[in-house]
């Protein structure tokens, strides 16, 4: 019954999206307002249908209705309720259904928010958004088909993948990643709309920027949560392994970040329009490529992905999107006139251009390393993979260069700078770099790349902090501190927020450098009561016990962590045995401090628990990665927080803003 309802709702969505797309196309070709109004209505119908279908699936999951195929696949009566709720996105078909509701939410938000704002492009934007809607609704109705009926429903199901049940972060990580991935549909549609309309005015640019920044924030959160989850659950002591699934989420993040920066240059100087749109289109295509790679099983084997229709369907969509984007770019890019050019390599716009090139190089590097094994297997039939050293060797220098540029760019003025002025801006931050370098050396940093990271980080930190508080400082010196504060959080909030985000990036990159260069590993086998040393910590095995839960059986080892004779913590790494899995899955235990983590993975127990195999890691500064990511999100939130003045201005005077230009970008004193 509920399965039938779900199918009907998915079909309704498919119909609404198709009809809406036709209306929007008609509206775009003939400038027909009535057709556009219908396209908008049908967008909301599409979204409601998707919402209904997802609710139907949740009802089926919670009522253990095993006559619905997806429930039979991931449901289980023994799992806790929260696991049942989140199993909507624990496997392929359900996650595509979930993608549908997220897409519905985004397109209705975009439709409502852009209504009558961009008369030249709105119909095209709506048409492209709904075209994506048609694809996903088709995917759910046909190839993925989570609502397919099961002829002989089983009494109980296997439950979702045990790794997903192991940690609460799994509730948050996939939705964040989807909010990031799916949201890129909106900037993609806006970019297509701009190319079809042949115009990228300040108003459309602002919509593009905001619609890109929103999913960028979610993607950032999703990537970091993925790393955090890997760290807390997988037990190998790290958070990033350059594995294809991780790379797939990083690729669109890199191009989106590049686009967020090049948009600033378009706003300021009216140049790089075509380039910016190219980055936005690439971002969307990379999200689709990423989804194809991670969701089709192509990484298990090139030849196995055809076992499901989902992989090939994605591949066709990717191909269509690629061809469409290339045609659109080559036809439309000439119509977007650039209003100037970069005149001085010492200017801020030149720094932005270098930033963009570095981001693109990083993207290509990661893409090459990720896709290469697929090509080799498809062409030669050999199985290989690209090792982590490749990624580290390529990405570390590029990352350090980007970090350094984060200090150079904001220090340089827009337009032209005399050699002397440029030196005056670029020399003082060296003291910041030197300071952080000395602190790092004192704390024991020795690896050359870490030292380079510390210097670049300190340099960027100096510039970021100086630029961040500059408006306040200038006003305070003139005796108007209050006005300065209002400037920071009012008119200059976007600028302030951007620097807060930069601050977060500095923290994350320095922490990544420190944790990868300074890690210490220990592999021991300990009898009960025996101790081993890890750096200046003493680890003592206290014994093991068994914990029974309805859905799993856990063996928990107790390990005492001491430092300089004082007990720091008792850690309990465990091995969990799930009834549906052949072998046990470990959960590490971590003691985190601001300086370093002690991370314990239980490898196994023998002699009836008298002896324990343990892998222990000392990871410097890992906690700062999560904290730094929080700072990035805070900064982006400051930028995005809707300003009442702007909202009023745009609703009351929709036409005026075209001439006004991008007021949000006011550079105070910079």
């Amino acid at each position: 019954m509920i399965g039938f309802l779900g199918r009907a709702l998915v079909l309704l969505s498919l119909l609404a999206a198709s009809a809406g797309m036709v209306c929007a196309l008609a509206a775009g070709l003939r400038r027909n307002d009535a057709a556009l109004a219908w396209a908008r209505r049908l967008t909301f119908v599409f979204a409601l249908g998707m919402l209904g279908a997802n609710l139907a699936m949740e009802v089926a999951l919670l009522s253990h209705d095993f006559s619905v195929q997806y429930v039979a696949q991931v449901g289980s009566r023994s799992t806790p309720t929260w696991v049942t709720v989140v199993s909507l996105w624990s496997a392929l078909e359900g996650s595509i259904l979930f993608w549908g509701v997220v897409l519905g939410a985004y397109v209705s938000w975009a439709t409502w928010w852009m209504k009558d704002r961009h008369p030249e492009a709105e119909a095209w934007i709506t048409a492209v958004m709904l075209a994506c809607g048609v694809f996903f609704a088709f995917l759910i109705a046909g190839p993925a088909h989570p609502f397919a009926p099961v002829p002989n429903p089983p009494a109980d199901g296997p439950g979702p993948n045990a790794l997903l049940q192991n940690h609460i972060l799994m509730v948050l990580h996939p939705p964040m990643l989807y909010l990031g991935y799916v949201g890129m549909t909106v900037p993609f549609s806006i970019a297509c709309g701009a190319l079809l309309a042949g115009r990228l005015g300040p108003d459309l640019l602002r919509s593009l920027r905001i619609s890109l920044l929103v999913p960028w924030v979610f993607l950032t959160i999703g990537i970091v949560l993925g790393g955090w989850w890997a760290y807390e659950v997988l037990g190998w002591g790290g958070y990033w392994a350059w594995d294809p699934v991780e790379n797939a989420s990083l690729l669109p993040w890199l191009t989106a970040t590049a686009a967020l920066h090049s948009i600033l240059v378009v706003e300021r100087k009216g140049i790089l329009k075509g380039w910016t749109l190219t980055l936005v289109l690439s971002t969307f295509l990379l999200t689709i490529l990423g989804t194809f790679m991670t969701r089709s099983g192509v990484f298990n084997s090139v030849h196995s992905f055809t076992q499901s229709d989902i992989g090939p369907t994605f591949l066709v969509f990717l191909g269509l999107g690629l061809v469409f984007s290339i045609v659109l770019l080559s036809a439309g890019i000439g119509r977007l006139e650039n209003e100037g050019r970069i005149r001085d390599p010492k200017s801020r716009e030149a720094a932005f251009l270098v930033n963009n090139l570095l981001f693109v190089m990083l993207t290509l590097t990661v893409l090459l390393g990720t896709v290469f094994p697929l090509i080799v297997e498809a062409v030669q039939g050999r199985q290989i993979s690209v090792g982590e050293p490749y990624f580290n060797r390529m990405a570390v220098p590029l990352g350090v260069a980007l970090l350094f540029l984060m200090g150079i760019g904001p220090a340089l003025p827009w337009g032209r700078a005399s050699g002397k002025a440029a030196l005056r801006a670029l020399v003082p931050p060296v003291s910041g770099g030197a300071l952080v370098l000395v602190v790092g050396l004192a704390l024991g940093a020795r690896s050359p790349w870490l030292l380079a990271t510390l210097f670049a980080g300190g340099y960027a930190l100096y510039v970021t902090l100086a630029e961040m508080w500059l408006p306040l400082w200038t006003k305070a010196r003139a005796g108007a501190t209050g006005e300065g504060l209002r400037l920071l959080f009012g008119k200059g909030r976007r600028r302030f927020g951007s620097y807060v985000a930069h601050l977060g990036v500095v923290i994350v990159l320095v922490a990544v450098g420190a944790s990868s260069a300074g890690r210490e590993t220990l592999d021991v086998s300990l009898a009960r009561g025996e101790s081993a040393r890890l750096g200046d910590y003493t680890l003592t095995y206290l014994g093991a016990h068994v914990v029974r839960e309805p859905h799993r059986l856990s063996t928990v080892a107790r390990v005492q962590v001491e430092r300089e004779g004082r007990r720091v913590a008792i850690l309990e790494p465990r091995l969990n045995q799930y009834p549906t899995m052949r072998e046990s899955i470990g959960t590490p235990d971590v003691h985190s401090t601001l300086l370093e983590d002690v991370y314990l993975s239980l490898m196994g127990l023998s002699d009836g628990g008298e002896r324990m195999g343990l892998r222990a890691y000392r990871n410097p500064m890992v906690i700062w990665i999560w904290l730094g990511a929080g700072v990035i999100v805070l900064g982006a939130g400051l930028v995005l927080w809707p300003s009442r003045r702007l909202a009023l201005a745009t609703t009351a005077l929709p036409r005026r803003r075209e001439e006004e230009g991008a007021e949000g970008s006011l550079e105070v004193g910079g």
């Binding site: 624990s90 496997a91 392929l92 993948n161 790794l163 997903l164 990580h173 993925g226 989850w229 890997a230 997988l234 594995d243 294809p244 699934v245 991780e246 991670t294 099983g297 990484f299 298990n300 084997s301 190089m361 290509l364 590097t365 090459l368 390393g369 290469f372 050999r382 199985q383 290989i384 993979s385 690209v386 090792g387 982590e388 050293p389 490749y390 060797r393 390529m394 592999d523 021991v524 086998s525 091995l575 549906t580 899995m581 052949r582 072998e583 046990s584 470990g586 490898m603 196994g604 127990l605 002896r611 195999g613 343990l614 892998r615």
Partner: protein, 155 residues
């Protein structure tokens, strides 16, 4: 367009092309040096000296009666087989709980001149799909290696 701007443009284009080519060269070079080969014992033997120093993921079954583990030093040695060839493996570190005779394993490391495989990482093949082969049957090394990877669905 003045000749000067045209000159700068041509200059910029050439500089960009050279930089791009250099970058591509470094990337492809780096790729070639850091490939990880997925081999079974037979492929490893066939590769001969090429296997020495190369990064290899060797998949196979643990030969019963060959496991030697010293809990004091955590030195571990055992042999893997695909039913045809055998390769002795040595590693340092406590093996995972599931590690035992007859189970499918993947070891990552390289072949040494002394004729044993030096493993830096030991993974037990997981996933419910993999089934242990019967006596005398050849081990499906490919399926085994695939199952040792962290499940993609998980992230």
């Amino acid at each position: 367009m003045s000749t000067e701007t045209r000159k700068t443009r041509i200059f910029a284009a050439i500089a960009l092309a050279i930089a791009g080519a250099a970058f591509a060269l470094i990337a492809v070079g780096g790729l070639g040096e850091n490939l990880v080969y997925y081999w079974g014992p037979t492929e490893l033997r066939e590769a001969g000296d090429r296997a020495i120093g190369a990064t290899i993921r060797l998949g196979g079954q643990v030969v019963p009666g060959t496991i030697q583990f010293d809990p004091k030093t955590t030195h571990l040695s055992f042999e893997v087989t695909d039913g045809r060839e055998r390769v002795p493996v040595r590693s340092v570190g406590v093996p995972p709980q599931m590690f035992r005779e007859g189970i499918g394993v993947i070891v990552e490391g390289t072949m040494t001149r002394e004729g044993h495989f030096a493993s830096e990482r030991l993974m037990v093949s997981h996933g419910n799909e993999y089934r242990a082969p019967k006596e005398g049957e050849r081990v499906d090394v490919e399926a085994l290696i695939r199952n040792a990877e962290p499940p993609g669905e998980a992230r």
